[in-house]
């Protein structure tokens, strides 16, 4: 009888320095798409995929976070270390590791690569960005590298999918091999003999912990020796930890006596060995002329021009987000309006028709309309990342971050928060200091997330005059820019306050790589843009859709039969006493009154009126009140609320135009004055910049801070800030004479 053993799928792991295009290789192998970022420590997500070997076998692929060394100093590097050494309970050690290297930057990239080679795991060296090597005056002898390290070396250009087939073939052949070259023949880091002997003391202690990877024990011992802060998980076990600590200290003093500096011995020896290796495989002809990348850098990071360029670029982006999207938005708007008309025709008059037309289509439609704008926003963010400008922006702005007391690593989480606060907060995991991280989390919601963009746009389009300032600057675009600047200003200000008062902490060092500029790869940029935009669409499809339905109900019920009779009677009277145009006008007024009455006695109306006293000083009325409450679920619902409440009639100009028109003309039934004025709009926008609202944010903050306390504190301080600022804007404006 045949012995049927369950054949486990082979596992491949991808490691490498950040910025090496590791994720592009991952995508090329697995066919999945994920975003590539030009910044260290970007995600701690576990990215897995499947690839098919040329032979047909299915192999699992794991994209590990970027790392500079196997001595971990962040959560990201922890994961890389733990997965490779097989000490993670939920992830089996890989059968093969692809070390992705930036072929133009071999020396530093080889640091991690040589550490990985020493662990004994089967390795393939992937020299990515090979096209740049070809273009440059340098040459890399791949055959020699292969011979010296004993592992396959494959040149690739991830973005163009060049070399991928060769890589797949190499993977297949490695899996077929039964006896890979032993680790100790692959790379010799030139360590002094005494060191190797002393390290044995440590090896003996941890041998049993690394049974899966016996060859990795030596390297691990070396790293344990070098870590001043004893961070390894080996110290978690009290017995082993104490023994280990004793041995390490003894080895250190012993080495010190012999003149060996244990704080530098690994990097120094390793780099010497790497230089030796590179000397044999790299031929470089010195370049005299400055590359394009360097020319660009001179301008973009120049004392004056750099800052000017940054502001100009930001200005252009805001301008375009506002104006370029207009065309597609109008088209979308009219299309949705037509859809509403169709639905109205299909369905018989009654609650169901109202639900679909006044509820779903109005609520969801008015949000979907902003899709072109969202696309543009994400397009620019992706463009930033892909060209490498993002790193320059960090370089230029780092001093500001330092002044405020924020870690430089906070830049990316805060920037992500402009898309959505949730991933922004998650990205703070790369910040080591607790107070640092807390401060960043607490101000992340102040970065205006993409959900607020439709609100700003709608209010600006409706209430900010479409005029030019100084003949060149567009007032509407400027207002939008102003809102975002306020957002950033508030974030930095609050962070500074927190860091100076109760979240005081150490100033952490901050070091990061400045990758060369790249011509953006359109496919990658569009891919990243689409990924992010997809989330927006999903939200519209789910939570906004569902809550629009609920909102419709709250706005349309309870029905007042007495009032219905009253209005019905009024209509009859009108029909008897007038005719023609006068009659139409009368009926229109009656219908308007009826709707308002219905609104006022609805659940939503009652709720809105209940909270109105609290928001009246800000210039808001009960409709906005409901909108604000609805915003807890999703900010965009403010728009949905206004659309549903105003029962916008299709006039052929498109949904949004109709809504804008309704808002501009809305008069209070009590005072007869306009409800929405530019001042009110401004006050509302300021409120939205500063208020902390959506449930998703609450949940993620509670989860990441581990306490309800910080979550409530955040809600409390932001609500106070929003209310106070709106109050200042509205009352201040009235005081100054604006109405």
């Amino acid at each position: 009888m045949k012995n049927i053993t369950e054949k486990k799928n082979k596992e491949i792991a991808l490691v490498g320095n950040p910025n090496t295009g590791k994720t592009t290789i991952f995508n090329a192998l697995t066919g999945l798409r994920h975003s590539t970022a030009n910044y260290p420590g970007v995600t701690v997500e576990k990215k897995t995929g499947w690839m098919k070997l040329p032979g047909g076998e299915d192999v699992s692929v794991l994209d590990l976070p970027g790392a500079y060394s196997l001595l971990p100093r962040s959560l990201d590097e922890d994961i890389v270390h733990d997965v490779l050494l097989g000490v993670r309970c939920d992830t089996p050690p890989p059968d093969l590791v692809l070390v992705v290297l930036d072929a133009n930057n071999l020396e530093r990239n080889l640091y991690l690569a040589t550490q990985v080679l020493e662990t004994g795991i089967p390795v393939i060296l992937v020299l990515n960005m090979w096209d740049m090597v070809r273009k440059s005056s340098a040459s890399v002898d791949l055959e020699k590298l292969q011979k010296l390290t004993g592992v396959p070396c494959v040149p690739t250009v991830g973005m163009e999918r060049e070399g991928i087939q060769k890589l797949e073939a190499a993977i297949a052949s490695v899996f077929m091999e039964t006896s890979p070259a032993p680790a100790n023949l692959r790379f010799d880091p030139f360590l002094p003999e005494i060191l190797k002997i002393e390290l044995d003391k440590i090896v003996v202690v941890i041998e049993n912990c690394l049974k899966d990877r016996p060859e990795a024990v030596f390297g691990e011992s070396l790293r344990l020796l070098s870590d001043r802060l004893f961070r390894s998980s080996f110290f978690e076990d009290v017995e082993i930890g104490n023994l280990l600590r004793t041995e390490i200290l003894s080895v250190r003093s012993s080495l010190k006596q012999r003149g060996i500096d244990w704080t530098s011995v690994e990097p120094e020896c390793r780099y010497t060995a790497i230089e030796h290796l590179c000397g044999q495989i790299i031929r470089r002809v010195p370049q005299k002329a400055l590359t394009f990348s360097e020319h660009l850098d001179r301008i973009l990071t120049h004392r004056i021009w750099g800052v000017v360029a940054f502001i100009a670029i930001m200005g252009i982006i805001f301008q375009s987000i506002f104006s370029w999207a207009q065309g597609p938005m109008n088209l979308l708007s009219r299309f949705i309006e037509k859809l509403g008309g169709l639905a109205q025709g299909w369905l018989p008059t009654g609650p169901l028709q109202s639900l679909v037309v006044d509820g779903i289509i109005a609520g969801v439609g008015n949000v979907i309309v902003f899709l072109p704008q969202i696309f543009l926003l994400f397009f620019f963010i992706a463009l930033f990342e892909d060209t490498g400008y993002m790193a320059r922006a960090v370089f230029v702005l780092d001093k500001l971050m330092k002044k405020v007391g924020l870690n430089g690593k906070a830049f990316l989480p805060l920037l992500s928060s402009f898309a959505c606060t949730v991933p922004g907060v998650l990205a703070t995991r790369t910040i080591e200091d607790r107070n640092d991280r807390l401060a960043t989390i607490l101000v992340a919601p102040l970065m205006s997330c993409s959900a607020r963009l439709p609100i700003y746009t709608l209010l600006i389009a409706a209430f900010i005059p479409n005029i030019h300032v100084f003949h060149v600057l567009h007032l509407q675009g400027l207002t939008l820019l102003g809102l975002y600047l306020m957002s950033i200003g508030a974030g930095l200000g609050v962070a500074a306050l927190f860091r100076k008062t109760f979240l005081k902490g150490n100033r952490m060092p901050f070091v990061f790589e400045l990758p060369p500029y790249r011509i953006p790869h359109l496919k990658t940029v569009l891919g990243t843009m689409w990924d992010r935009a997809k989330e927006f669409i999903t939200r519209a499809g789910s939570i906004i859709f569902l809550l629009s339905i609920v909102l419709w109900f709250l706005v349309s019920y309870p029905k007042d039969p007495v009032a219905a009779t009253k209005f019905s009677a009024a209509r009859q009277v009108a029909a008897k006493t007038c005719s023609g145009e006068v009659l139409q006008e009368r009926l229109g007024l009656i219908e308007h009154d009826e709707k308002n009455q219905q609104l006022r006695s609805s659940y939503a109306g009652s709720l809105g009126h209940a909270i109105e006293p609290a928001i009246r000083p800000l210039g808001f009325n009960w409709e906005i009140g409901i909108g604000i409450i609805a915003s807890f679920a999703a900010r965009e619902l403010l728009i949905s609320t206004l659309a549903i409440v105003h029962h916008v009639q299709p006039e052929g100009e498109g949904m949004t135009a109709g809504l804008i028109d309704a808002l501009q003309k809305q008069r209070s039934t009590e005072t007869g004055k306009l409800v929405y004025t530019p001042l009110v709009a401004l006050s509302l926008m300021v409120f939205y910049v500063l208020a902390c609202q959506c449930f998703s944010t609450f949940a993620i903050v509670k989860r990441e801070t581990g306490s309800w306390g910080w979550m409530f504190f955040m809600i409390f301080y932001m609500t106070g800030l929003a209310w106070g600022s709106s109050f200042l804007v509205y009352q201040g404006g009235r005081f100054l004479g604006f109405q």
């Binding site: 020396e107 530098s264 990097p267 750099g306 370089f395 780092d398």
Partner: protein
Amino acid sequence: MKTMTLDQMTLGERGIIQGYEGEEDLHYRLKELGLVRGTAVLVKRFAPLGDPMEIVLRGYSLSLRKQDAAKILVSRENQGL
């Protein structure tokens, strides 16, 4: 050869790393990134606001805050080297 700290170097200057002042955790990371004794570095530029500074070593660019560069001992490369 005069020994000074990295933040004291001026634009365009080249230097050789001699060691570190003090014992900070960051220093090990810098060593792993290639800033070990004997490494040649070039001061490429300073950020518009004066800080951080960009240095080039081993074929790549690194951004470093001046307060951290102040702990790195370097010696100016002799002319003609």
